[in-house]
């Protein structure tokens, strides 16, 4: 008995080492494993109807997706897709955004067991495209379904690799009751007016005027201000950096100087506020204790759950001379892309096309506030006073900005540095010039 076990383990060792030596050249090894696991699933799903469809025109098979959207959202897509193609079994795998997702995706790719559909986002786009791992969708029918503004944002090196049906819109979430109490009326037209409004809110008793999100990502007030200052006036800015005409420092230093002077040094945003976990900050806003925070449509569901009666709306951030106003966000959801290695490209394309149908779009909007931006589709949010203006001025006009979408190299490192430097300006008084120069260092690093 013991020898038996030992023998089995020995064999496992040999085959393991032998198989692992092959794995790089021998793609089918990984595929074999994948098929095995999927059959395992089917047999586990005793009641499910997985009979291979014999109908000739219909698609059948298995489609695997790795996403970071909740199971509720994914189920919305899959239900609709299955109503069109009942013979396709869709396997949705979830991984938490963003880092755990990337870990899992990389592991699957590097071991030749990648799913058919994956998310192609700012954080992994460069590597995926450089590695020729994505199917080029530029000439496929599904690319034509995308609205012009979606297409513009998803375009990468003049090609389309991922499909998006909408996205998020954000900026400043403003508590309108407090806004009126502070005697404020119209939306601010210039940056100066916005800062004055914050100071007016500061005078209210027990109210925090403004909390900047310095804890994570690029969801800070610097982002829309940057968009309003440069993109609104000079849309070719990124090309000038690529040509070497300008540097990131040229663009970012003035922005950092403005926010450091008006937001951090003036005491609006304090170290104490930086020490709040972001969900606590959002709670406080939802409870009406905060005048404005940086946020977007992905916060709607949370605010609704915490305090459905909150009277608030999204405002854009104007530039200094008031010539342009920008919002946060992008039209890059869900950014699903087909792996070049997929053997189910036809099914995958059909799945992507099904995302443009009203059923899927509605499910997105109801589940996560992922706003549909497809020609001919009327978003349920267009009637919503919270973001109606933002939709017209921001999303539809294309006046929304997320820097990751524009960065072309070392995106993740740029993002991390951005977050770090915004914190450094607030907490250690690091100078805007140094912070801005870091972008160029990273961009030019090999």
């Amino acid at each position: 008995m013991r020898k038996c076990i030992a023998l089995i383990l020995c064999l496992a060792l040999m085959t393991g080492i032998a198989a692992c030596g092959q794995s790089k050249q021998d793609a089918p090894a990984g595929d074999g494993a994948k098929q095995e696991s999927s059959t395992g699933n089917e047999s586990a799903d005793a009641g499910a109807d997985t009979d291979a469809g014999a109908d000739s025109g219909e698609l059948s098979g298995t489609l695997s997706i790795l996403g970071w959207y909740s199971d509720e959202v994914a189920q919305g897509w899959i239900d609709h897709f299955n109503s069109l193609y009942p013979d396709v079994k869709v396997e949705y795998q979830y991984a938490q955004a963003v880092q755990p997702y990337m870990e899992k995706l990389q592991g699957l790719i590097m071991s030749d067991s990648a799913p058919d559909l994956i998310l192609c986002v700012a954080e992994n786009r460069v590597e995926l495209v450089d590695g020729n791992m994505l199917m080029d969708l530029t000439d496929e029918h599904v690319a034509e379904l995308m609205s012009e503004s979606c297409k513009q944002q998803v375009l990468f090196r003049d090609r389309i690799y991922a499909v998006t049906v909408g996205g998020s819109i954000g900026g400043l979430l403003v508590n309108m009751d407090l806004w009126e109490q502070a005697g404020l009326g119209e939306d601010p037209k210039t940056w100066g007016e916005l800062v004055d409004a914050m100071h007016a809110l500061e005078k209210l008793d027990g109210v925090t005027p403004f909390i900047n999100n310095v804890t994570d990502a690029t969801i800070t007030i610097e982002t829309p201000l940057y968009g309003a200052t440069w993109l609104g006036t000079d849309s070719d800015y990124e090309k000038k950096i690529e040509n070497g005409e300008k540097t990131y420092a040229d663009y970012w230093e003035p922005i950092f100087e403005i926010t450091k002077r008006d937001i951090y040094d003036s005491g609006l945003m304090t170290e104490e506020l930086a020490g709040l976990p972001w969900d606590t900050a959002l709670n406080n806003f939802a409870l009406g204790q905060v005048g404005m925070i940086v946020g977007a449509s992905w916060n709607f569901a949370d605010i609704e759950a915490i305090n459905p009666d909150l009277n608030y709306k999204i405002m854009g951030v104007p530039n200094v001379d008031g010539t342009s106003k920008y919002y946060l966000g992008d039209c890059l959801e869900p950014s699903l892309a087909i792996m070049e290695s997929s053997e189910n490209k036809e099914i995958a394309l059909a799945f992507l096309e099904s995302l443009f149908d009203e059923e899927s779009l509605l499910s997105n909007e109801e589940q996560v506030g992922l706003i549909g931006c497809v020609d001919g589709y009327n978003s349920i949010f267009s009637e919503n006073p919270v973001c109606a203006d933002a939709l017209v001025e921001g999303m539809q006009a294309g006046h929304q900005f997320m820097p990751q979408t524009y960065w072309r190299k070392n995106v993740e490192r740029m993002r991390a540095k951005y977050v770090e430097n915004v914190q450094a300006m607030l907490l250690t008084g690091r100078s805007p010039a140094e912070c801005a120069a870091d972008f160029d260092d990273i961009y030019n690093a090999e």
Binding site: G30, W68, D71, E91, Q96, K104
Partner: protein, 273 residues
């Protein structure tokens, strides 16, 4: 042995400390029964209107029993495998103390120093080529391979046992395996219990390996469900804490059951310095 007098003083000093240490648990447990709105207003206090919605929401669309079973299956088999395998290895190294085995001892202890995260990518490739992806026993094998700590503990314990026990057994004609299973293994009980507790909690709470190597939701473990409520831009603490509460029930029972043996086993077995 005469019993010492009980002193209330120690109780008075220790109980507040216990309260502080216990509070984060109570915070999690209470949070599990609070709605989103209440959690925002009253995160630290007693729930005003308790709700079980969080629990229902957490296991919507997936069989809770099945995930719990996966967790128990992985943990039980891992603990069993780790205990037996590492004790056997320690026995062999102690009693067949040749040059090769001294080398093997050091080899097995290298596992202490390996940062698991650095080996993720190679492990992925290994798992994929061996067909271990999305298999519960894949996770068990991984745990069964991480035996450095248990091996280290058993080695110390078996080495501390008087040789006479084993020699007496050989005299009586006991075989090598017989000596191990009948004499040595039971004698390691104090260390075994400690080791079992360690391995139990390490495997029960292991997040990284299941998150990477188990792909389908119904093959997942409880701790993976915790992360489903932490999305990119929002956190539903109530739902998250509800799952955490469930993950804590079994370890709690297990610990209460094992605690007695942990202390008494150690004391009875005696620790040779």
């Amino acid at each position: 042995m005469k019993r010492k007098k009980k002193s209330v003083l120690m109780d008075l000093i220790m109980l507040p400390l216990c309260a502080i240490v216990a509070y984060p648990f109570i915070y999690v447990l209470m949070g599990a029964f609070k709605s989103r709105g209440e959690f925002a207003v009253n995160p630290y206090g007693w729930p005003q209107s308790a709700t079980i919605q969080n629990f229902l929401k957490a296991f919507e669309g997936v069989s809770f029993i099945r995930i719990l079973w996966n967790n128990i299956f992985i943990t039980a088999l891992s603990v069993l495998a780790v205990t037996i395998i590492s004790a056997m290895a320690a026995y062999a190294v102690v009693y067949n103390n040749c040059k090769v085995n001294r080398g093997i001892r050091i080899y097995l202890l290298l596992g202490f120093f390996i940062p698991f995260q650095a080996t993720l990518l190679p492990l992925y490739q290994l798992y994929s080529s061996m067909g271990l992806m999305d298999k519960l026993y894949g996770i068990i094998l991984l745990h069964a391979g991480s035996i450095s700590l248990p091996f280290f503990m058993f080695y110390g314990s078996i080495q501390g046992l008087p040789r006479e026990y084993a020699e007496a057994a050989w005299m009586d004609g006991c075989s090598v395996p017989g000596t191990f299973f009948r004499i040595i293994f039971p004698l390691t009980r104090p260390v075994m219990i400690t080791q079992v507790i360690f391995t139990f909690f390490a495997t029960w709470n292991d997040y990284l390996a299941p998150s990477l190597f188990l792909t389908s939701r119904d093959k997942g473990v409880l701790i993976l469900e915790v992360t489903r409520s932490v999305s990119r831009n929002s956190v539903d603490w109530g739902r998250s804490f509800a799952v955490v509460t469930i993950t804590l029930i079994l370890p709690f029972i297990f610990f209460l059951a094992a605690q007695k043996y942990l202390i008494s086993g150690m004391a009875a077995g005696g620790v040779k310095g």
